[in-house]
Amino acid sequence: MGMPTREAPLYAGKPLSSTEVAVPVEVRIPTVMRAATDGVATVPSEGNTVGEVLTDLLARFPGLDGSLLDADGSLHKFVNVYVNDDDVRYLDKLDTKVSAGDTLSILPAVAGG
């Protein structure tokens, strides 16, 4: 599903090294993407950064391919990703660090107000 070509930009110069053990995190999947997770709302994943977690998530649920990342490996413009409710676009984007037990939430951008 196009995974190999996405690895380079995703890891952004920070490959998963042997000293960095991927940590487990929970990922909340929005209704619109649950067809790819058999209807499950919260799924396990792992990594040290948001980018690594999303790559791992795509490996576990190939049906999500195309919904999270653009061809250039950046976050889809209509997708917001939060680490413990903090939007990663205003942190370090896909390089934002995650810790064991963090919750990553994926939400589609919709109109408010």
Binding site: D86, D87, L107, P108, V110, A111, G113
Partner: protein, 312 residues
């Protein structure tokens, strides 16, 4: 002097109230701008006059014409108040799951209501309004999501009021919605006090919109510029209601539920700061949300209800 010729002269110049009790860090002060004090009851009164004046100035809107607007309530109410006084008709496209009080107030002010499917959220109201505008070119859509007079109203009024009343402001926190408040106040503060941080709070709307068929239905308001923001938090319904109750219990502020979410976001931000001053927007009062049971019913019950009703 507190004497006025028109109700519209009462829009703006809202009070700033100390809400330091809400701060998890005693060295971080929190001030709330009480926008529920506006005559139409919300911050949206500010953009209603500005958007109507703009449409008159560019020749699109003339006496007797009908204004069309997708709104989950507060913008519609502000427009209804102004339109009635200025002699325009108003048609509001409203998701059918907004609180009953919003519909009642719109009707009282004489707005015609067109309901859109609540499951489609504000996206559905926008789609339907765009369809109606194409079908009937005599309708004048102001479109708050893409109207520069939305954020400019805040650049011209809300921002200067905040800096005048709280020159020590370090951080500004408001709800995202159309992004008008954040864009206008954010730009004003950054232009006039470099270093001010601008923080957005949003509900997990995309999680709740059951009618979202695919990501391609996503929506980013055309007036939104991510470069104005420094941080963004999502605040969920349960936390929003808990903080709406704290505003009442600890500070005596009877606010709408989005204010609870914004207060929760301010507390998250305060926890990341050593010291400083945060100004938050309290967008409206609690009157329009009495039917939600937010202050009276069991938290689990209100939370469940909040996943079905649009309280933003």
């Amino acid at each position: 002097m507190a004497r006025y010729d028109s109700i519209l002269d009462l829009v703006g110049d809202t009070p700033l109230l100390a809400l330091h009790q809400l701060s998890p860090n005693p060295r971080v002060k929190i001030w709330g701008k009480l926008e529920g004090q506006n005559p139409g009851g919300s911050v949206k009164d500010r953009i209603a006059s500005a958007m109507i004046d703009g449409a008159v100035a560019d020749g699109r809107l003339k006496s007797g014409m009908t204004i069309l607007e997708p709104s989950s309530g507060n913008t519609g109410i502000g427009l209804a108040m102004v339109a009635r006084l200025r002699g325009y008709k108003l048609r509001v496209v409203l998701p059918d799951n907004v609180s009953i009080e919003r519909r009642q107030i719109l009707e009282i002010f004489g707005a015609e209501i067109v309901l859109s499917p609540g499951a489609e959220g504000s996206n559905g109201a926008i789609r339907l309004a765009e369809k109606l505008a194409v079908e009937d070119p005599s309708l004048v859509m102001l479109f708050q999501y893409g109207n520069d007079n939305n954020w400019r109203a805040h650049y011209a009024t809300t921002g200067p009021e905040i800096l005048r009343d709280c020159p020590e402001v370090d951080v500004f926190v408001a709800g995202l919605g159309t992004s008008g408040t954040l864009m206008g106040v954010g730009r004003y503060l950054k232009d006039n006090k470099p270093g001010v941080k601008v923080v957005a709070v949003e509900p997990p709307a995309g999680e709740l919109v059951q009618g979202l068929r695919s990501l391609q239905d996503g929506f980013i308001p055309p007036i939104f510029d991510p470069d104005v923001l420094d941080r963004k938090f999502v605040v969920r319904p349960r936390e929003s209601i808990e903080w709406t109750r704290r505003l009442l219990d600890d500070c005596g502020v009877f606010s709408g539920i989005s204010a609870g979410a914004i207060a929760a976001g301010a507390a998250k931000m305060a926890a990341t700061m050593d010291e400083g001053t945060i100004v938050i927007v309290i967008p409206d009062g609690g009157w329009k949300y009495l039917s939600s049971g937010a202050w009276t019913d069991d938290l689990d019950v209100v939370e469940e209800r909040a996943t079905r009703i649009n309280y933003w």
